[in-house]
């Protein structure tokens, strides 16, 4: 019969080559992320700016608040390329303002505030948004009230709200945390509680779809508690929209802080932020365009970098796009 016949596997089903080594999910994401040139570039710029504002003041040890009226109105170093007579030099590579404050030191100090506000407000809104989104999506009873609350917050205009909050809460916060600390908490708080709504909506939508899937049903039939389902099965699956909206939140927070400082509410006038530098430079915009350009470019670069980073992360975190 067929006893002596050797069992030959079907040609198509055999492994002709060795399997590629197994890669963890993290490696997969990293590989995909590296494909996105814009995201790589954005990540690099963001890392550079963050490191610069964090540690730059260790290298460039000039006090940003120090006035030196004798060397006021210096131009940035690059103006020497086309104009040799201009007041510029390596003592102040980014020039000085009308009171002789060093431009570079101010950019570094201002960036620290702007980025700190951005990160803190982003984390706060992330936490709120993800929490509310998951709760609303998973628990049917909470869905209505939480989503109506989201609508309510969506209709709150941020700037007038901040102006009111500044008037109401500045005194107690200043008494407890000092003028800068109090204002930081206030601005981060208000930006945070007015920017979580989009995250919440996206997360709720995803959770609504996910909780009807078979693996969630299986987990539930195996007796997993709601807490377990949320932390073990739902959150890992909605991590990609959360991360993406977080990056956009960072950009929005930086811009909101800048516009607040531009309007002259917020931090004390001797406390530099990018937005305030921009505002202070406007009257002398034509004579000293760099004073508007440098903080403006810094804001734009950071926001753009963060947006590209978010774009790349979305691609990398989505298993359906990954590997294509």
């Amino acid at each position: 019969m067929t006893d002596d016949q050797e069992i030959v596997p079907i040609e198509a089903l055999s492994d002709n080559t060795t399997l590629p080594p197994h890669r963890s999910q993290g490696q997969e994401i990293w590989l995909q992320f590296r494909q996105h040139k814009g995201a790589m570039f954005g990540g690099f710029i963001l890392a550079f700016i963050t490191l610069a504002v964090l540690f730059g003041s260790l290298i460039w040890q000039v006090d940003p608040g120090k006035l030196d009226i004798r060397s006021k109105d210096w131009r940035p170093i690059y103006t020497l390329i086309w104009n040799g007579d201009v007041k510029a030099g390596w003592a102040h590579p980014f020039g000085t303002d009308q009171l002789g404050r060093d431009g570079l030191a101010n950019m570094l100090a201002g960036g620290r505030t702007s980025l700190a506000v951005g990160w803190a407000a982003m984390l706060l809104s992330l936490f709120l948004g993800a929490g509310i989104g998951v709760l609303a999506g998973y628990f049917k009873k909470l869905d209505g009230p939480l989503m109506r609350m989201t609508d309510l917050f969506l209709s709150l205009p941020v700037l007038p709200l901040l102006l009111v909050a500044v008037t109401l809460f500045r005194q107690p916060l200043r008494a407890n945390f000092g003028p800068e600390g109090g204002m930081f908490i206030l601005i981060v708080g208000v930006i945070g509680i007015t920017s979580w709504m989009h995250t919440a909506r996206i997360v709720r939508g995803d959770v609504l779809a996910l909780k009807e899937r078979e693996f969630v049903l299986a987990a539930r039939s195996a007796g997993t508690t709601s807490k377990g389902i949320i932390t073990r099965h739902l959150l890992p699956n909605v991590i990609s929209p959360i991360v993406v909206s977080a990056t956009f939140g960072l950009a929005t927070a930086i811009i909101t802080e800048s516009s607040l400082s531009f309007l002259g509410v917020g931090f004390p006038s001797d406390f530099p932020t990018w937005g305030k530098m921009l505002a202070d430079a406007v009257p002398r915009m034509q004579e000293f365009p760099e004073r508007v350009m440098l903080p403006g470019v810094a804001i734009s670069l950071t926001v753009l970098a963060v947006n590209y980073l978010g774009d790349g992360l979305r691609d990398a975190l989505d298993p359906r796009i990954r590997g294509r």
């Binding site: 009308q98 008037t167 200043r174 006038s269 001797d270 034509q286």
Partner: protein
């Protein structure tokens, strides 16, 4: 010869033509920008400069101050004096004669009754009149005949030109405001937004806090004026934008109060469409020292009131040290250029009232430090900030939001930190800071700070009312709805006695002496008010706008009826 004469004649007639042809409304439209927008056109219901000046386009006083500070008659036929019999020998009454044939813009005649009505309107006890101080000491106002008004004072008034004189107290029409007396005054929106007046223009449309459309008053007393048929007074924006609109784009013909750094104005002027004009009145940018404790630990209602004296600013040595640590020449250079002069005084002009102190003009850091040491403020814990009995010398220094003021704050902060004083800066939006809202913690009247900086001035050439503000009991406090002009909460019985003496003194030289003494009590001898810069009024005028003379003693728009277009 004959031809030459003819030609000359023809040429002359061409030259004369514009003057001969000048008629009302021949020059079209003029645009004025006020970066603080007027919100009402009744100066009796608003203390704001913007409102008073905008209303001066429409309503006029009996007499006002010209650019040299001299009184000129407007509604009145002449300025009454003791010499011409208008002011009684004992200085207790003044009799005004109104110009004959003067009409309101609606065509009715101006009578003494209107003037009496205006006085009654402002002196109404329920009215809350913003210019009530102009009617101080008025015992009665009588209409002698249709064109004669007699104002009697309760005591001799050496300066009887208070009521109905100057841009702040113009004459309003009795017929229009008849139903707006007392508590009903703010309800008469139509009248408050479009008063009927005797000045060059009348209101066509008024949008509060935005724009006023005006047209030439058809019944103006000079049939050839105003040369402009219509005017737009645009409000809002900021000083930078309004400077641009006059100097660079030429959209606007006149911009008010350009408080910008000198290099910024100079740069704008290169735009070539206009020029900056400046004049020196008594405007002084100053630091006000809070004599009461603004600590937030105190309960609301006691904070920044005379119940609690300031923990360290009540010490004169600390105040003097803070004053002489300031380099005023540098402040002027950075902030005002030729439109400012360093000063130590509260009243820097006119000449016979100016003390011309120079005790503060040289910065003296060593003396400032020595003064603080003397007062017992030393840096005992080595953190760079002086302290005494566990209390730190830490100052909250507030002002309104304005680029020049923030530069001043930064500079002064640096100097104060050099002498071991910790400084925290705060800037408040000007509409809030000067808004006078008793509910806001950020007004300059509430003064919830240790030191604040702003500028103030007085209208006319006599500082009596201005100096009388620093009377005991005139301070803003909860009981007065936080209204009051004694911002520092200064109180000295000797000063109050001088206020009374000034009110009784008629001799101009003697008045000057008393005023200088009072000025010195506030500045040189107590450093309660620390003068920084004697500021000029700087405005922007288009090169095509003629007929304007900057007036620092009265409303800037005082001569709008004389304006014309240079062609």
């Amino acid at each position: 010869m004959k031809v030459k004469t003819l030609l000359l004649g023809a040429a002359a007639s061409f030259v004369m033509a514009p003057a001969a042809m000048a008629e009302r409304g021949s020059d079209g439209h003029v645009n004025v920008i006020y970066w603080q927008a007027p919100s009402i056109l009744n100066p009796y219901l608003s203390g704001g400069t913007k409102d008073i000046e905008a209303s001066s386009l429409i309503i006029e006083p009996l007499a006002r101050y010209d650019d040299k500070g001299a009184l000129v008659p407007y509604i009145a036929a002449e300025v009454p004096t003791v010499a011409n019999g208008g002011v009684s020998e004992d200085l207790t009454s003044i009799t005004w004669k109104i110009k004959e044939g003067l009409l309101w813009s609606d065509g009715t005649a101006v009578t003494a009754n209107d003037a009496k009505f205006t006085a009654d309107y402002c002196m109404h006890p329920e009215g809350g009149c913003a210019q009530a101080s102009f009617f101080d000491g008025v015992e009665s106002v009588e209409v002698v005949d249709d064109l004669t008004l007699k104002i009697t004072f309760d005591q001799p008034k050496p300066n009887p030109y208070g009521p109905l004189v100057g841009g702040q107290s113009p004459v309003i029409q009795a017929a229009q405001f008849a139903n707006c007396m007392g508590a009903k005054a703010p309800e008469c929106t139509e009248a408050n937004f479009a008063p009927i007046g005797t000045a060059g223009f009348k209101v066509d449309e008024f949008k509060p806090n935005d724009v006023i459309s005006l047209s030439a008053n058809p019944n103006y007393r000079d049939p050839a004026k105003p040369a402009f048929a219509t005017m737009t007074l645009k409000g809002g924006g900021d000083a930078t934008a309004s400077a641009r609109a006059v100097f660079e784009t030429g959209e606007m013909d006149y911009a008010w109060n350009l408080q910008l750094a000198p290099d910024v104005i100079a740069k704008f002027e290169e735009g070539g469409k206009g020029k900056a004009i400046a004049g020196f009145g008594p405007l002084v940018e100053r630091l006000e020292m809070n004599m009461t404790d603004p600590s937030p630990d105190l309960p609301e209602g006691e904070r920044a009131t005379v119940a609690h004296p300031h923990p360290f600013l009540s010490d004169i040595k600390v105040r003097e040290a803070l004053s002489i640590a300031i380099d005023r020449d540098l402040l002027v250079e950075v902030g005002y250029g030729t439109a400012g002069k360093p000063t130590c005084d509260l009243v820097p002009a006119p000449d016979n009232f100016a003390a011309k102190n120079d005790f503060c003009l040289t910065q003296d850091m060593d003396r400032a430090k020595a003064l603080l040491d003397e007062a017992g403020w030393t840096d005992s814990d080595g953190d760079g900030v002086r302290d005494k009995d566990g209390k730190k010398l830490s100052i909250l220094y507030q002002t309104s939001t304005n680029a020049v003021r923030q530069d001043f704050q930064a500079l002064i902060k640096q100097w104060w930190e050099e002498i071991g004083v910790e400084v925290e800066l705060r800037n408040v939006d000007s509409s809030v800071f000067f808004g006078g809202d008793p509910g806001s913690p950020d007004t300059f009247q509430k003064f919830y700070a240790d030191v604040e900086m702003y500028a103030n001035t007085f209208n006319g050439t006599d500082p009596q009312q201005y100096l009388a503000a620093y009377k005991c009991g005139n301070e803003p406090r909860p009981a007065s709805q936080w209204q009051g002009e004694n911002i520092n909460r200064f109180c000295d019985p000797a000063y109050d006695a001088l206020i009374d003496e000034l009110g009784r003194t008629g001799d101009i030289a003697k008045r000057g002496e008393i005023a200088i003494k009072m000025n010195n009590m506030l500045t040189k001898e107590s450093h309660t008010i620390v003068g920084l810069v004697h500021r000029g009024r700087v405005s922007g005028q288009s090169n095509t706008l003629g007929g304007h003379i900057l007036n620092v003693w009265d409303s800037e728009l005082w001569d709008a009826a004389e304006w014309y277009r240079i062609k």
